[in-house]
């Protein structure tokens, strides 16, 4: 049973994330744990002793009410692990703290897709994403599909992707497609023969076999990151290793309106610790 820490707030991104996790839990064995961070305004953070304790308990109650309202509105059916964790402070710091002290297979949060790819790159550059000690599910849309796409391209670490998917795959009813991407300055996406892909494709296919994970289809595509991003919309989510800054794979993940599973292996986790 995979353990996911799901960040929620009272907004559209969280509503989508909550509904998506609810859907995903019907496809993979998943226990989501909710976390919400109440960010106090600076002028609110005064006081010591009982004054502070009273202020803190008021903030916690307000956070609980926020999550309770959201859960009531969205009427999701999945079983959550325990009661929602309500924290006070800086959002990234509190989530990182929770990820460090408790073991989770991945962290999930909603992020509304925009036409500005920079918004997604900013997210990849954020302290939370860089330092997270586990993989991250960035939920952009309510993607209803039974197939997961693995995006391959320069800089992708196939071992990381396969081992992170394996962690959440127990008794899964989902399929996997491999998508190998190369850049081509053309409006129309081109579908190429397998021979146009590097050895990365064979390597990943082999790793899936070894890991007893399914592989239904293989696509070798060439085009702009925008066109490739659009092609990925029909998958449940797109899995790839945490991409290097401004890489082409990062650009495709930025443009796709689909949810993205950023797999973190030892290498990217180490980077996070060093950062």
């Amino acid at each position: 049973m995979a353990r996911a820490l799901l960040y929620l707030d009272e907004n559209l991104a969280s509503s989508i994330a909550l509904r998506y996790i609810d859907y995903l839990s019907t496809m993979i064995q998943l226990t989501p744990f909710i976390i919400h961070v109440v960010v106090p305004e600076e002028k609110e953070q005064a006081g010591t002793g009982w004054v502070r304790r009273t202020w803190e308990s008021g903030m916690i109650e307000s956070g609980k009410a926020t999550i309770s309202r959201l859960l009531k509105t969205e009427k999701v059916k999945c079983a959550f692990g325990g009661t929602p964790k309500i924290k006070i402070g800086n959002k990234d710091d509190e989530i990182l703290e929770e990820l460090r002290i408790t073991s989770y297979d991945f962290f999930a949060e909603g992020h509304l897709p925009t036409s500005r790819s920079q918004d997604f790159h900013d997210l990849l550059d954020s302290e939370l994403y860089i330092k997270a000690p586990c993989s991250i599910m960035c939920i952009k849309n309510l993607s209803v599909s039974k197939t997961v796409g693995i995006l391959l391209g320069n800089g992708v670490e196939p071992e990381t992707v396969v081992s992170e998917l394996k962690k959440i795959w127990d008794n899964s009813v989902m399929d996997i497609d491999l998508i190998y991407y190369t850049f081509k300055d053309s409006d129309n996406l081109e579908f190429l023969e397998r021979s146009h892909a590097s050895n990365l494709l064979n390597e990943t296919e082999e790793l899936l076999k070894k890991g007893e994970l399914p592989c239904s289809n293989i696509h070798v595509i060439a085009g702009t990151p925008e066109a490739a991003g659009d092609f990925l919309i029909n998958y449940a989510f797109i899995a790839s290793s945490f991409p290097p800054k401004k890489s082409l794979v990062a650009e495709v993940l930025a443009y796709t309106p689909n949810s993205v599973f950023l797999c973190k292996g030892k290498k990217s986790r180490k980077k996070g610790t060093e950062a």
Binding site: L12, P113, T114, V144, P257
Partner: protein, 281 residues
């Protein structure tokens, strides 16, 4: 729901009639097929053309099993204003009308008289979207109609319906039309919201509506997506979106689009779009 199909005897009207029939077969709307004729009409020819179009329409909507019926003998009644009418009662009403005069004015007048929810019309292929011999007619209808307008361009079937939404008070009829477009074309649905310079502005009612729409489609197994674009890039985005699929614009009174898409811009969009355009009001 009442739909007005505005037709002439050109090929684009035959093409539009097919889409109109698909739409009506699904919605079981009351339909008026309006034939526009010249001031000195060759009366018999116009009647024959309209009857032939109506027969095709009835056939495409399921024939005897469908909602519409057309008897073997169709006798038009001459109205006091010179127009001609034939009312064919089936399970749903099918009215055949012939009007003469200024085509655009007559279409808009007919839509007002019958309180139409939607006007459907075709237009010529390629970069210009025209009716033969009438300059700028589809643009004028899209701009001036008070109800929704579907301009059908003779292009390939859209694989995606791209809907721009920035108001929450979207009517049930508008949603139903989007639903029909998605169903008829077996297309996906992309819902585009607007964001300001500082990012996505939380407009709870609009965003709730977006969520309801995508959930509705996802539950039906149709791929539906939300994305946000900058207000400043809206014109370019809409123009590019017409390459991807059919564009649906909600031009409501409170809509940002009704401000940004001035009458001229809306006309240009109809003209340059590579796909059919649905203007929702």
């Amino acid at each position: 729901m009442r739909i007005l199909g505005a037709l002439d005897s050109n090929i684009y009207s035959y093409r539009a009639l097919e889409d109109l029939a698909n739409l009506c077969a699904n919605t079981w709307a009351d339909v008026t097929l309006l034939m526009l004729a010249e001031e000195k009409p060759k009366q018999i020819k116009n009647e024959d053309v309209l009857i032939s179009l109506a027969q095709k329409f009835v056939e495409k909507t399921g024939g005897d099993q469908g909602p519409y019926h057309l008897p073997d003998n169709v006798n038009f009644r001459l109205q006091s204003d010179g127009s001609k009418t034939f009312v064919s009662p089936g399970k749903k009403e099918l009215i055949l009308r012939i009007r003469t005069g200024d085509y655009a004015k007559e279409i808009l007048e007919e839509a007002r008289e019958i309180d139409s929810d939607l006007i459907v019309l075709g237009c010529s292929k390629g970069m210009e979207c025209e009716w033969e011999g009438i300059l700028g007619l589809p643009k004028q209808i899209a701009r001036d109609a008070t109800c929704s307008v579907l301009v059908i361009k003779d292009t390939t079937r859209p694989s995606q319906i791209i809907s721009f939404l920035d108001q929450s008070n979207v009517s049930q009829e508008s949603l139903e039309l989007i639903n029909q477009m998605v169903t008829i074309h077996h297309a996906g649905l992309k819902i585009v919201g607007l964001m300001g310079e500082k990012g996505i502005v939380e407009k709870e009612d609009v965003q709730r509506k977006m969520l309801d729409i995508i959930s509705y489609y996802n539950e039906k197994g149709i791929h539906a997506w939300i994305t946000f674009i900058e207000k400043s890039s809206i014109e370019d985005y809409v123009a590019n979106a017409t390459h991807e699929g059919m564009v649906a614009l909600w031009i409501g009174k409170k809509s940002f689009f009704s401000r940004i898409f001035s009458r001229d811009l809306l006309g240009k969009l109809i003209e340059y779009a590579r796909s059919s355009i649905l203007i929702l009001r």
